[in-house]
């Protein structure tokens, strides 16, 4: 009898064995589709399966099956197993398709598998190992000094930020170190909109890269640190421009520990987490925003997986874009819950840059096919990958974050 839990060494995985074994191996997760009178959608959504072909790589079935094979002691750990695990972008398209009770556990299970992989002598991608070795002291995965975290902030603002405010603008590592213009545009926007906010120099990485790559133990201290910030600055909430930060602060920090799990970190309660697009939409709805200019361009919106499938925020960014005078919004074939990942998530951009950019290249071509002149998104990490792919593929497309589109042409009424 081969379906018995024989490998109890894999403790984190063994704890969710009940859920792992709820997978029926049906393969629904290998393809995206929806029918009905209004929709007629069918497309491959799993970036990993599309690239690496075999069923081991396609959707969650391959990974659940890997978990079971390991737990049943039918196969051992190998570099190949690590490759199967770490080339998944955690985009959640497979989870979206699953209809069985394992559904809410799928991404968590991928993380648990990665958690176990770290304890084995297998080929974790070198780059992931590299940033992981310094994140504990630098508090960012880009190997940049923590003291430079706020270098993006214009010096006149840097020292005039209030010590108490309603919101903390949590810029996140990518905007802080790599896409500074998005952080700057956000601060300028928040000031124009007269939002009571501050920026803090003791912001640490939200821990998204750690959690997604299964480094729970290391993540715990980041969660504990960041969740104490609101109280310290008298804030009632966080505002993020990064979808990864939004997902992590808004969901990972606040969710109950999954059944069977020892609590990895205390739960964050009573703190609002808003994506910038939430804030803008809310103010638009209240009539508090006035447009001072136009954006006469055809634009397509790329759903970041962390904002879309992970947090089910699909319409908010679109509503914001639709409100912009002159902006013509066109959709890619794969959009909303059936969006196609930019290829960067789950540690893939760091771990497998070529494959990550190849995926982004596919998305860029899809954006081009809409006839749009500009692709926008709501995440500096998606921005990075898509902008790099635009450059690499010599595409005529332009890339701007939603905040960059809005900031120059609004004021508070």
């Amino acid at each position: 009898m081969s379906h018995l839990l024989k490998n109890k060494e894999l403790k984190e995985l063994a704890k969710i064995y009940d859920y792992v074994s709820m997978c029926t191996h049906c393969g629904n997760c290998k393809y995206g589709y929806e029918y009905g009178s209004a929709s007629n959608f069918a497309a491959m959504l799993c970036v990993q399966g599309e690239k690496f072909n075999f069923d081991s790589y396609r959707g969650s079935r391959g990974k659940v099956s890997l978990a079971r094979s390991l737990l049943h002691n039918r196969i051992g750990w190998s570099d190949k197993a690590a490759h199967v695990l770490f080339t998944c972008t955690s985009c959640g398209a497979c989870q979206q398709m699953c209809e069985t009770d394992i559904k809410p556990w799928i991404l968590r299970m991928f993380e648990a598998l990665r958690y176990e992989a770290w304890k084995q002598n297998v080929a974790i991608p070198e780059n992931i190992k590299a940033w992981s070795s310094t994140i504990g002291t630098l508090y960012n995965p880009y190997k940049e000094p923590h003291e430079k975290r706020l270098d993006w902030l214009p010096s006149d603002l840097r020292y005039s930020m209030p010590t108490k405010a309603e919101y903390i603008y949590f810029a996140g590592c990518t905007a802080s170190y790599r896409r500074k213009q998005i952080a700057r545009a956000t601060v300028s926007l928040l000031r124009k909109l007269k939002v009571d906010f501050t920026v803090v120099d003791d912001e640490w990485c939200c821990a998204s890269p750690l959690l997604r790559t299964g480094q729970y133990d290391l993540a715990a201290k980041f969660v504990e640190h960041n969740k104490a910030l609101p109280e310290k600055y008298g804030a009632s909430g966080f505002i993020t421009t990064c979808s990864g930060c939004y997902r992590t602060l808004g969901r990972d920090y606040t969710m109950d520990a999954p059944e069977g799990y020892a609590d990895k970190y205390g739960k964050m309660t009573g703190v609002k987490v808003l994506h910038t697009t939430h804030l803008i939409e809310e103010m638009l709805n209240k009539g508090e925003i006035e447009f001072t200019g136009r954006f006469d361009k055809k634009v397509t919106y790329h759903d970041p997986c962390h904002l879309g499938r992970h947090a089910e925020v699909y319409e908010t960014p679109r509503n914001v874009l639709k409100a912009v005078p002159g902006l013509q919004l066109v959709e890619m074939y794969r959009n909303r819950k059936f969006s196609y990942c930019c290829g960067a998530g789950g540690g893939v951009r760091g771990g497998f840059a070529d494959y990550s950019l190849e995926t982004a290249g596919k998305r860029v071509r899809e954006a081009e096919a809409t006839g749009a002149e500009l692709v926008t998104s709501a995440c500096p990490f998606c921005y990075t990958n898509l902008a790099d792919a635009i450059e690499l593929n010599k595409s005529q497309l332009k890339m701007e974050d939603i905040v960059e589109i809005i900031e120059p042409i609004v004021r508070r009424k």
Binding site: M1, S2, H3, L4, L5, Y17, D18, S21, M22, C23, T24, H25, C26, G27, N28, K30, Y31, G32, Y33, E34, Y35, G36, S37, N40, F41, A42, F52, N53, F54, D55, S56, R61, G62, S65, L66, S69, H72, R74, I75, G76, S78, K80, A81, H83, V84, E99, T100, D101, I102
Partner: protein, 486 residues
């Protein structure tokens, strides 16, 4: 950890390219099992060909080295049919996913094995029936089942799959019109009209050689192209429902209704199958609940046509009631109705049903049986199932013409509990044994059912089958162990 041997790996790499072959256990593991009780078995290689020539070369190599070859698309057959009994090569055909032709005038399409139901349906919906450019209606359809949309249309059709047109037009193997196969020894053959021209519309009036490759569970060759009939989507659809106090009563109603040939499908499910999730382990139904719930799908080109069909259906119900058949009115849940009218359904028939209450195991005695045997076998199966602690979650579906139809009992079980697996397997095999004398035949049969069939089969039939198998596959490399004849 790697399996197989490096020389063969190198040969396979030469044929399909290194990125399309693997002998690593981490890649092989999803191919070791399926949802059924089939004991997991490791293949030695997985190979993903992209062309017919590559398949020919793989088969020649496999023949030469006597390596088993298991054709595979998505492994969702619910019969353990792709579990590699003797190891060997999983020939994963997903990369061959072209829809080669959709002919909107002659109403057929030509597809490769990797074409999923999702992709095929989307393409058909976007193609309008027409004659010389003049369009008649919107979109085509094929017989859509309730399996995952990633499943292969070709694999389903060649294994007598069951779709939503089964009542009107027949099961999906009856919709096949031509095929191309690679024989186990590497030759390519076209069968049907496509053997003479590029028209893939029909097997008739030729000798029916397609029978050598349908229902054989991938043991006689690799089907590389399939012509299938497609049908214009009728714009009007409705679902009519009725329940009954017994299997006998629901069968009487279904058979009478089917004689009129007015519906696309008529199906009945026992109380246990109507519950989501299926009751597991068994517990009795409430005394006042009907034993069977039935739905029938009607379709038409106008509201008038539907109205006529509704009128005829009402007459059937009234006539049966007048004879004393106990038929009970009930409301079909809107979600279920959507699943029957918006096709193929996103609601994958059965997966939802299974996982919470148990440990991911699904199987069934899935059979074709003459309608008159349904109530007889239901009572027998019910006794067997309850004795094994399982719910008799039974389904009857009539196939075109009131001759025969599906008799099936969906069976969840807990894969983590050996006793649960054993009970389910024992119950199902016992049901098959009880059914064969009543004319029942299992479809996509797991090895255990095949053994039951072979034990009582006509000797001449078995001789002929073995002879065909030996002729086509002299080294018994194709999916060995499945049909139980070699």
């Amino acid at each position: 950890m790697a399996r197989g041997n490096n020389e063969i790996l190198a040969n396979l790499e030469q044929i399909v390219g290194p990125e399309y072959v693997s002998n690593e256990e981490a890649d092989l593991q999803p191919y070791t099992w399926d949802m059924t009780w089939a004991e997991p078995r490791m293949p030695d290689y997985v190979v993903m060909p992209k062309t017919v020539t590559e398949i020919q070369r793989v088969l020649r190599l496999a023949n030469h080295r006597k390596i088993p070859v298991i054709p595979y698309c998505n492994g969702t057959n619910i019969g353990g049919l792709c579990v590699p009994e003797e190891g060997g090569i999983i020939l994963d055909l997903k990369k061959m996913d072209r829809i080669l032709k959709i002919d909107p005038e002659t109403c057929y399409a030509v597809i490769e094995p990797g074409v999923s139901h999702a992709a095929f349906s989307a393409a058909l919906k976007a193609t309008n029936p027409q004659w010389k450019g003049e369009e008649f209606s919107k979109g085509f359809e094929f017989g859509w089942g309730v399996h995952p949309a990633s499943a292969s249309v070709l694999a389903m059709a060649i294994n007598h799959g069951i779709g939503h047109l089964n009542g009107r037009i027949g099961i999906n193997s009856q919709l096949i019109s031509s095929m191309e196969v690679v024989l186990p020894t590497g030759e390519v053959a076209k069968i049907g009209s496509c053997a003479y021209s590029d028209s893939w519309h029909s097997f008739l009036p030729l000798p029916r050689m397609d029978g050598l490759f349908t229902g054989w569970l991938g043991t006689t060759g690799i089907v590389t192209k399939l012509g299938v009939w497609i049908f214009p989507i009728r714009p009007y659809r409705d679902v009519l429902t009725i329940a009954a106090a017994s299997a006998e009563d629901i069968t009487k109603y279904m058979v009478r209704w089917r004689h009129y040939s007015l519906c696309d499908e008529v199906t009945a499910v026992s109380w246990w199958l109507a519950q989501i999730p299926i009751v597991f382990p068994y517990s009795p139904k409430p005394a006042d609940a009907p034993e069977f719930f039935s739905y029938t799908v009607i379709s038409g080109w106008s509201e008038e046509e539907l109205a006529y069909k509704r009128k005829m259906w009402k007459e059937v119900v009234e006539k049966e009631r007048a004879k004393g058949t106990k038929l009970i009115d009930f409301e079909y849940p809107p979600e279920a109705k959507k699943g029957r009218t918006e096709l193929p359904s996103r609601i994958v028939g059965s997966t939802k049903n299974y996982s919470k209450s148990c440990g991911g195991g699904i199987a069934w005695p899935g059979t074709f049986a003459p309608c008159r045997s349904w109530p007889i076998l239901y009572e027998k199966w019910k006794e067997i199932y309850i004795r094994h602690g399982l719910s008799p979650a039974t389904r009857f579906t009539d196939y075109q013409g009131a001759h025969y139809g599906m008799l099936r009992c969906m069976t969840p079980f807990n894969k983590r509990d050996p006793a649960s697996v054993q009970a389910a397997r024992d119950a199902m095999v016992e049901c098959v044994r009880a059914g064969i004398p009543e004319g029942m035949l299992p479809y996509k049969p797991p090895v255990e059912y095949q053994n039951e069939l072979n034990a009582v089969a006509d000797a001449g039939y078995m001789y002929l089958m073995a002879k065909i198998k030996d002729m086509l596959d002299p080294n018994n490399i194709m999916n060995p162990g499945k049909l139980g004849i070699r």
